[in-house]
């Protein structure tokens, strides 16, 4: 049984491991990857919004310009996130496959599963910040474009929170995948193929989108859709997304505990 002192030592070790992961990021070009993620989403959201010539709708509450913008954000996030999250996780884990970092870390008291959790904590913090930033920047684009209609804060924030959960689950999946399969082709291939599912997911019926987690959940989180008559509200599946977060987190913990028991 762990004593309080043991737990304190473990916590200090985990904090140090997460700090080490941030140190590794400096040479892994994590910042440019995150910058591409944020910029890509903001540019594509703006493209989707301005491509529909919104000039006459900016002051018309019935035209719901903010909802059109969030629809663009949903499309852009679904297009860009799967590949770049795969890249982030893959690069952070691949460094251990080179030069047998797993063995080195294990002999330093950090087994592979715990190392994966430290990697997830470090990259996850970046992903949460990037997701919040891209959402805020897209809102800033709307303000800069001159939308004068009331900002739908609740819709915007709940969509951003849902996106954070889905992105974190996808990141956890890629972290475990990259740890188990050293060939980066597999992780990146899954990331590229995931784009097709996320894009299809926006048009899938919800029962089908539920069957392809976590990619199908980008569609389930989308709060609006365009039809011939204009923008209509959808019912985002927040409960399903919360369940995805809980189940994804549990599976990640289980998988990393299994890694802890394996030989490095």
């Amino acid at each position: 049984m762990n004593t309080r002192a043991d737990r304190a030592v473990d916590a200090a070790g985990t904090t140090r491991a997460v700090a080490n992961e941030f140190a590794k990021m400096r040479r892994l070009r994590a910042a440019p990857s995150v910058a591409v993620l944020v910029t890509g989403v903001v540019v594509l959201s703006s493209l989707a919004f301005f491509g529909a010539d919104p000039a006459g709708t900016l002051h018309d509450p019935a035209a719901r310009p903010w909802h059109r913008l969030i629809e663009g954000l949903a499309l852009a996030a679904a297009l860009v996130s799967p590949v770049l999250l795969a890249v982030l996780a893959s690069r952070q884990v691949d460094i251990e496959h080179r030069g047998n970092g797993w063995l080195f870390q294990q002999t330093s008291g950090l087994p592979p599963g715990r190392l994966c959790r430290a990697k997830f904590a470090a990259t996850g913090a970046l992903v949460v910040a990037a997701t919040a930033l891209q959402s805020a920047l897209v809102a800033a684009v709307g303000l800069a474009a001159g939308i004068s209609v009331a900002f739908p804060a609740e819709t915007w924030l709940s969509y951003t929170a849902a996106l954070v959960v889905i992105n974190l689950v996808l990141l956890a999946l890629h972290t475990v995948l990259s740890a188990c399969v050293p060939n980066q082709l597999v992780g990146l291939g899954v990331g590229v193929l995931g784009v097709f599912v996320t894009v299809s997911g926006s048009g899938m019926p919800p029962w089908l989108a539920h069957l392809v987690p976590p990619w199908g959940y980008y569609g389930l989180a989308t709060p609006v859709d365009s039809v011939h008559s204009g923008v209509v509200d959808l019912d985002p599946h927040h409960l399903s997304i919360a369940a995805l977060g809980v189940v994804g987190g549990a599976l990640f913990l289980a998988a990393t505990r299994l890694l802890d028991r394996g030989e490095a």
Binding site: S33, V43, V83, L188, V195
Partner: protein, 249 residues
């Protein structure tokens, strides 16, 4: 020719075939799912099916796929002592750079062949479309393969310079985003100068979307092919020059 054969030998036991087969089949499957499950019917037959498969495929999965293949091709050179073997061999830098692009061109052609075959099969078997795929889409397919060449050459150069497998893929995603932006605003000179934009433009050819007028003219095809060929030669020459003068490891 020996350099090209050597590159194919290096690919023999890789998983490159999964990218070549799965990427276009996923594009076809996406088109089918979008049509069967939620989308409206194929009002314009083969044209609508082509639009729903190839246009999205060209937005950036295709460039990302080419980037993954380029990383795969150069990964072997970055492992163990292979970089020294590459530096020490008698083959010129140009032959090495060109051989990598030739192999990538063959793989890109295979991706497009699988995509066209997939569209044909689902068009007939799933949607029962009359006739076969109009010949102009075969011409567009050939143009897409040619437009893949500058992207392949650029990604090959990036994969040569970066030991990381994933970093060049980030560049491809960023480039494709920029390419989509350039094509959407209809900036001709920038489309010609940016390989990713050129590829996006080629995949929209004859579709009537993203500013395309929906026609496939001999002059339009000739310009795309000429620009893509020129860009490819320039990038290969630059890659060869770097390979001859700089030890990137």
């Amino acid at each position: 020719m020996g350099a090209v054969r050597a590159e194919f030998c290096k690919l023999k036991r890789s998983l490159s075939w999964t990218v070549v087969a799965v990427l276009p089949l996923m594009a076809v499957l996406t088109g089918v799912v979008n049509t069967v499950v939620s989308g409206p019917a194929l009002e314009q037959g083969w044209h609508t099916l082509w639009l729903r498969t190839v246009v999205f495929h060209g937005l950036f999965p295709l460039a990302a796929g080419v980037a993954v293949l380029a990383s795969l091709l150069w990964r072997v050179e970055h492992q163990g002592g292979n970089w020294n073997a590459l530096m020490g061999r008698s083959t010129s830098g140009f032959a090495v750079a060109a051989a990598k692009v030739v192999v990538l061109a063959v793989l890109a052609a295979a991706v497009q062949a699988v995509l066209v075959a997939g569209v044909l099969v689902v068009g007939k078997a799933v949607f029962g479309l009359p006739g076969v795929l109009p010949p102009r889409y075969l011409l567009v397919s050939a143009v897409i393969v040619v437009a893949c060449l500058p992207v392949a050459a650029l990604q090959s150069a990036l994969s040569m310079l970066m030991r990381s497998f994933a970093a060049p893929v980030v560049v491809a995603v960023a480039g494709s985003t920029a390419g989509a932006l350039v094509v959407l605003i209809g900036h001709g000179p920038l489309t010609a100068a940016l390989p990713y934009a050129l590829l996006t433009r080629a995949t929209q050819l004859g579709t009537g979307v993203f500013g395309d007028d929906g026609t496939v003219t001999a002059a339009g095809v000739a310009v795309l092919v000429a620009v893509a060929s020129a860009l490819t030669v320039v990038v290969i020459a630059g890659t060869a020059s770097l390979l001859e003068r700089r030890d990137v490891h």
